[in-house]
């Protein structure tokens, strides 16, 4: 006749297994559960304002985010610079139009209605370019500009519809402590892990210990540059945007593919 297990022992056994499971579950939820990223290939090359021939890319596994226009917010007006350089792509590749919006700290923009509508129009126009499947807004919003950008993105979402993929680039600090982007109506926020300025050591230290961001919008993608340190490892599901200060060559791309394949 089997000896009945005492209730206290049962309880201890339960605790023995439940506590680690709870910890593991909490960690897994924090790290992996909510992944915000645009659908499509995992590896995306930023094609900036320079002649680019990317016909050697693989449309099945790679995409291109190209600078389609730049919007300069001046004190009382807006200046829009269209792309002036050619871009050659293989057929069928995912194309993301990037609009860079910037202002000058020494002469801040008024951010008035005229500037809002001009900026909005420039962004919407970029989505009408041939084969553009998604939009990315690249900006360095200072605190005084955040309401402007929030409104811009809200209106953009309204005009483009709930299904249109919208991405933004984000300072790494926006993904950690200063999470003002949390409620923006976008599909992903790409943490820019290069040219981080004076905060770089802190952010790299944070990533070395946490390897993900508290802000869910920032967890599905990241932006890196060919000339700077990359986070290690890069998760297999992360959508990686890669920047290059110079025109891309096939050798550069093969180097990136190799490093991404190795998870670094």
């Amino acid at each position: 006749m089997p000896t009945p297990v005492p209730r206290r022992r049962k309880f201890r056994l339960l605790v023995l297994f439940a506590v680690p499971v709870i910890f593991w579950g909490a960690w897994f939820h924090f790290a992996y559960s909510t992944v915000h990223r645009l659908a499509g290939p995992r590896l995306v090359y930023w094609a900036w304002e320079r002649p680019e021939n990317l016909q050697f890319l693989d449309p099945k596994t790679e995409g291109v985010a190209f600078l389609s226009s730049s919007v300069e917010l001046l004190p009382d007006s807006v200046h829009i610079y269209p792309r002036m350089q050619p871009l050659y792509l293989p057929p069928g590749i995912q194309v993301v139009a990037v609009v860079r919006i910037y202002s000058h700290p020494a002469s801040p923009a008024a951010l008035n209605e005229h500037q809002f509508s001009e900026t909005l129009q420039a962004v919407v126009n970029s989505t009408h370019l041939p084969n553009v499947a998604a939009l990315q807004i690249d900006f360095d919003a200072r605190e005084s500009e955040r309401a402007f950008y929030s409104r811009l993105l809200t209106e953009l979402r309204r005009q483009l519809g709930p299904a249109y993929p919208i991405s933004i680039t984000a300072l790494a600090s926006w993904c950690i402590g200063d999470r003002w982007i949390h409620s923006l109506p976008v599909n992903e926020a790409v943490p820019m892990l290069f040219s981080m300025g004076p905060n770089e050591p802190l952010i790299r230290h944070y990533l070395a210990s946490a390897d993900t961001f508290p802000e869910p919008l920032c967890r599905g993608s990241l932006g890196i540059s060919i000339g700077e340190r990359w986070p290690n490892p890069i998760r297999s599901g992360t959508r990686v945007y890669v920047f290059h200060q110079q025109p891309w060559t096939q050798k550069d791309v093969e180097d990136i593919r190799s490093r991404i394949h190795r998870g670094m």
């Binding site: 960690w27 304002e49 050619p86 000058h104 002469s107 041939p130 946490a210 110079q246």
Partner: protein, 302 residues
Amino acid sequence: MSRHFGRIASAFCVVALSVLALVHMAQSCAEWDPPFADYSKHPDVPIEKFVQGNLGILQPSFARSYLVVAYRYLSGVPLAKDEQEAAQALWENRGIDPVNIFPDYYSGGGAAEDRQNPYMQTAQDDADGPKDWEAAHAQIVSSPGPRISQLQGLDNYGDYLNCSNDAFATAAATLKQRAATFGKEHPAVKEWIDAQDAVFANCGANPRKPVLPASPDSALPEILRYDREYQIAAAYMYSNRTAEAVKGFQHIAEEPNSPWHDLAPYLVARTMARGATLDDPGPGESRPGQPPHPPFDTEEMR
């Protein structure tokens, strides 16, 4: 004893497993990148000091624009203030971050100076050419002229400036002169405006559907006939009909009485250069009877 040992072991397992759950992959402390900046393509920043003659250590690998500036200083022919502004504008227009050009950019001086640089793209784009044309147009005709886009799009995601500010400024100045000569109400002056509207309609319109001014009537005053020939050639140029534009400007260059006689040879060359640029079939492709377009030379572009 064994009972206590079991409890302690159980507690230890719980704590250990819980702690291990929070431990991520170990990170090595090795740095990947060399701890110094590589300035093989450009001088040390801020570049404003370089353009003022503070050359630092020159390297033959610098981009040609920097080497030209260095050559001037080393030859004992320093850049004048005007030339320094032009060089700064070139680099900024090529995408060099202003913070790397102006040491006091974030404290106000750099941005203010930036706005006053006459060579900056922004300053040029804000020039009054199109506004002058609108004002001159409005003085003769009550209805506003057609909306003009100065940019023309290409099928490689790029745009180019088809009609520059100077074209509008020249049109405005010429219209004022003709109106002063013949009077605002003269039918030929109104025809002149219609012809110029047609010219500018090509700036951003579909180049496959060029808009051409009517051929000059023999009854027109001589100077307005010459103007019309120039307008037709310009319309061809803006609609990328290179051969017709070159032929038109060559004809004007051979006509000594045309007010556009001196300018026409320049426009022949400019039209040819533009035609060659826009005829670029793209890397790896070729026009009939021509060799394939060579691939991008990355070093050349750098």
